[in-house]
Every structure is written in structure tokens, then in C-alpha cells.
Symmetry: C2
Subunit: 264 residues, 2 copies
């Protein structure tokens, strides 16, 4: 049976709230995801929350009641609570009807099977959680085998990244690796490393992409380090017809990823 | 000579701070833009702030001192201030070195000359300021003639939209129009209306784009209304190979815009 919590001081509420902070996520190995669409996507991908907070007046919604049932059947806790507590957990005045607490899951680099997809996304020192989530969402759309986060990237389990991923966090494998680990792994098998770079004369369009393509996007402000570019098999750039010299990192990744997809 | 302000209660600080709120922007016809890169872009595009707040210790930076000089030469006010006040204005703990207050500028629909560009971006009921800013940035990159915001879109002058535009707010003309105004204007001259839609069998790739193309993106959650789709000359969709049924609106716009650009 679902339990009810209405006190802000309740330890489960406090712990859930603390997961908005990266340090607490690391300590607990847990993260927050919110919204019926994302939680349903998670369940359909085989991920259930260990705790499911839901608004009392939403329990009758068929998708919410189905979630509650599945969570409880699998040993998780369903917790009926107030809009105020959901607002506190989500950090929004108009909170979603459901908030789930999930165990973090990172795929080890060695577990990737590059034969499973012709396209893989790689991001280096990505700083913006919205960009990370958006790249995951694009990864899902282009059928990427996974997103490999190289060196110090923003936390993929931050509330903003999870939100921007629109559920793709649960469908696209995520790897975290140092460059010094990633590169030997990449070179241990087939794989074309394609870097997005302004230091290229090659247009992204009609370039010779070879599967599996590993599409490498650099830091939002600085792009790829020169030493990384030197390791790429191909550097491509997008036409920039205006005054600015760069696109949003998630946008540049997506435009190129769709071109790779069409070119393979 | 620059003046100095260090009191939070100073009326200029209070007014600047109030511009983080849409209601005050509307009342004053002013908005905030921050950061040396964006303010330099603005100046190079012929837009100067009426007030320029800068950190005392950044005045020696050549780009900052050049900005101060230009602003004062054109009758604006340069205001030396503290990091704490800049943090208050920008809403960030680590504020940019400069924050400018600009007069809002919207291009009237009737002032657009569709002969000036083969591609125009149109967004309908866009809700997310980050998406709006990112679409502006993409508009700059693809050389779009402008961004036409149809019906109730998020405010392009919000701090988040200005930030995400990375200065493109100053380089890409922005129009606000009702659908009932936009459509007759569009049909009064040459122009292909291309809608991004999941209700299409036509791939975005290799479709017959005809200049000037007006690329129409719908609301993030709902897409385009059916009545809008009926008015389109072409509906195109992007391949969705994963579990999700949609991309981020700014990403979908960018992927299609680059395809249009290549196909014209």
C-alpha cells in the first residue's frame, strides 16, 4: 500500500530534495527524474524508481496508477504527497505529478559493443546540463549506440540534464571516460573518429563517413583541444554564414549526426 | 566620465534588476544583456546600451575600455560597480564583467524584405527561452533573414533567451506577429511555407525546397496546430530511430534549416 507523506521534515523528502545537489547524488548513487512522460519512458526501458512520489489528486490517472502498481510490485515505495512537497522536490512552482528517485547507472566503456550501432556520440568537457540532455535526446533519435562523456563533463544525472533528455537518459547508454582511456579503447577496434571543429576545411556535408562513426563535440566555449583534433580521422565544420563563429554545441552535434546518418 | 554605484538601493540598480521581469521590460521597453562577447557583438551590429554596468577591476581590459568609450561617446552612461551588484543584475554567483541595458527593438512584419535571404525561421508558441535564443543563434549561422515569432511565444528579451542567443539577438531581425497577420503577409509574395511535423510522410532530406523558404516550427510540447499544417506548402519530418517521438525544437529547426540551406 502507498504511504502518505505531507511533512517537509520527513527524512525521505529531505533525502529526495538533497539529490538536486551533485555531492549528494554521488554519495547516495541516486538521482531525481520527474514527469509522467519521462517516468513512463523509464519504466518501458526497464528502469523503475526506488521511490515514487506522486500527487494525491493524480493517483486516479491511469498512467500514474499503472506506475504506482509496477513500482510496488517490484519492491519500490510509492509515496502519496502534496503539491507543495512535489514543488520542493522539482524546484518548480508548477511541479509535475510524479517524481521518482532512481539508482544511477553508468555503462562501463568496456561494455560497449560498437557493432550495435553505426553512430556514437562523444562529448568532451561539456558544461551545460541542458546541452547534455539535448544531446542524449538527439542520440535516441539518430539511434546512437551511446553517449561517451570524455573528461570532466557536467553530471548527466542533474535535474536539468534529465529534464532536457526527455527520457533519453534511460534509453541511450552513457559512458564516462578519461580521454586516455577512450582513445586506446577506440583504436582497439573499427571506428572513425570525426571531430567537430572550426579548424577544418572539410564541410560536414558529403564527407566520407564510415561506420561506426564516433562523433566528437568539444567544450561549449573552447571547442576541442588541438591534441584531440590531431587524433581525429576527420575534422568537419558547419557553414557559418552569419556574424557568429559557432553554434550551440547540441545543435552542431545534431546537424552533423543527421548528416552522418544519411551518409553512412 | 563613468560614475560609480555601489549601493544596492540605487534607483538605476533597482531598475536594471527589475528588467529580469517581463512586466517591467514591457513597461520600460528595455532589456538586459550581459557578457563582453554579447555586448561587443551588439556594438558591432550597431546597438549600444543606454547604460553599461561594469566591474571596477575589468575597466582596464581593452574590450571593456573600448565599450565604455563608445557608450559614453554616444550619450550612454558607463557605470562602475561591484561584483555583488553585477551578480544581482545577472542572477549568477559568477557574473559577467559587463551588463548592458538596451532599448528593445522589434522589426515590423511589413518591414521584412523577403528578397534579402533564401531562408527565414518561423516559430509558433515557442515556450522555452533557451530554445528561442538557440534558434536565433542558428538563424545567424544559416544566414536567415529573420525569426518570425507567431502568436504567444516566450519573450525574446528575457535574460535566458538573450544569453542563449550568444549575441544573435542583435544580428537576426525579430518579428512578432499573429498567425492571422503572418499568413496574408506570406501569401502576398513569393515564399514556400515548410512545416516541421510528425504528421508527414516526406523526409526532410532531399525535399524540394524553394527560396525563400519559411521554416515553421511549432510549440515544444504540442507541435503545430492542424490548421497551421494545412496552410503549409510542404510538411517534412526528421527520422526518429529511437524510442522518443520528437526532438528538441531548436535541434529540429537547425537540422532542417541546414538541409534547406544545402538544398536551395
Amino acid at each position: 500500500m502507498p504511504r502518505q507523506i505531507t511533512a517537509f521534515g520527513n527524512p525521505l523528502v529531505k533525502r529526495a530534495r538533497s539529490l538536486r545537489d551533485k555531492r549528494h547524488r554521488r554519495q547516495e548513487g541516486l538521482f531525481l527524474a520527474e514527469g509522467l512522460r519521462i517516468l513512463t519512458e523509464a519504466r518501458d526501458s526497464g528502469r523503475l524508481p526506488i521511490e515514487l512520489f506522486y500527487a494525491a489528486d493524480s493517483a486516479a490517472h491511469p498512467l500514474v496508477s499503472a506506475l504506482i502498481e509496477t513500482v510496488e510490485a517490484k519492491g519500490g515505495a510509492a509515496i502519496e504527497t502534496s503539491h507543495d512537497i512535489l514543488a520542493k522536490l522539482s524546484g518548480k512552482d508548477n511541479p509535475q505529478a510524479v517524481v521518482g528517485i532512481f539508482a544511477e547507472f553508468i555503462t562501463p566503456l568496456a561494455a560497449l559493443d560498437r557493432a550495435t550501432s553505426p553512430i556514437w556520440l562523444v562529448a568532451e568537457r561539456l558544461r551545460d546540463p541542458g546541452n547534455l540532455g539535448t544531446i542524449l535526446r538527439t542520440g535516441d533519435a539518430v539511434g546512437a549506440g551511446g553517449l561517451i562523456l570524455v573528461d570532466e563533463c557536467v553530471d548527466p544525472f542533474s535535474v536539468e540534464a534529465v529534464r532536457a533528455s526527455m527520457g533519453a537518459l534511460f534509453t541511450v547508454p552513457i559512458v564516462q571516460a578519461r580521454w586516455a582511456e577512450f582513445l586506446p579503447w577506440l583504436r582497439s577496434g573499427p571506428g572513425q573518429l570525426v571531430g567537430l571543429s572550426l579548424n577544418s576545411d572539410a564541410g560536414y556535408r558529403g564527407a566520407s563517413y564510415v561506420a561506426p562513426t564516433f562523433l566528437l563535440t568539444g567544450n561549449e566555449a573552447q571547442g576541442l583541444p588541438a591534441t584531440f583534433e590531431e587524433e581525429c580521422d576527420l575534422l568537419v565544420k558547419l557553414p557559418m554564414l552569419g556574424r557568429a563563429d559557432s553554434l550551440n554545441a547540441a545543435v552542431a552535434t545534431a546537424v552533423t549526426a543527421y548528416e552522418v546518418l544519411a551518409g553512412l
